[in-house]
Amino acid sequence: DVAKFRKDSKDKLTYDRAYLMELRGCASSQTKPEGLPNLDIILDKPV
């Protein structure tokens, strides 16, 4: 799967709200990042 992104005239990577929201559901977006500090604001399960 090739990442779908668009570059504007100045070659900037931009993403609109709808596309960002669409990506929220994919498996990598549900994965807890590694190496997060041990703080009570960090959750084990996705919200």
Binding site: D8, L13, L20
Partner: protein, 197 residues
């Protein structure tokens, strides 16, 4: 007939969507026994859409933070304080929320702001953006969008208009932009707005 098995791709093997900038998320907790700077720490940095969501989905929503806490998301290399060389000449668009809005609006406002940041939603003015902060306070929560140069009138106004639009702030509510140089050292007193939209 051949049935194709549905394969679940290994998340690490899928190409993630790269962001234009690398961002750091910061957390501030008000612990009066320690120095202000020691209470501020980086949670992590991210530079893909998926890593942003992974982090967002595994941190407490802003509305659930204790009073006195802040979240900040800034471009990597910029500290979320006005003293940072890249903030010094800048300022912030400020949105004040009342007590009931913590439950009804705060989390949405914060997420919409973050999506504008990481997606470069301020178009040609995205380079003027330094980051954003949400302050959880008993006397009223605040959301600030920080820009680099308070002298850039046109860019600053356009950023404010876009912010207001993205957050669906009703037209009758006016939001203001304050220069950090006007805010610095004036805790509690009223700071004048350089611009409003």
């Amino acid at each position: 007939p051949e049935v194709e098995e549905e394969r679940v791709p290994d998340p690490d093997m899928v190409i993630k969507h790269p962001l234009q900038n690398s961002w750091a998320m910061w957390f501030f907790k008000n612990d009066k026994s320690r120095d202000w700077k020691d209470n501020l720490r980086v949670i992590t940095t991210f530079d893909t859409v998926e890593d942003f969501w992974g982090l967002y989905n595994h941190t407490l929503p802003a509305s659930k933070l204790q009073s006195g806490c802040d979240y900040s998301v800034f471009k990597a290399g910029i500290q979320p304080m006005w003293e940072d060389a890249q903030n010094k000449k800048g300022g912030r668009w400020l949105i004040n929320l009342n007590k009931t809005q913590r439950q009804t609006h705060l989390d949405d406002f914060w997420l919409e702001t973050l999506l504008c940041l990481i997606g470069e939603g301020f178009d040609e003015h995205s380079e003027e953006i330094c980051g954003a902060t949400v302050n959880i306070r008993n006397k009223g929560d605040k959301l600030g969008l920080w820009t680099r140069d308070a002298q850039k009138t046109e860019a600053t106004k356009k950023i404010g208009i876009k912010l207001k639009e993205s957050l669906s702030v009703p037209p009758k509510i006016v939001i203001g932009f304050q220069a950090h140089s006007d805010t610095a050292g004036k805790a509690g007193s009223t700071v004048k707005n350089r611009f409003t939209v």
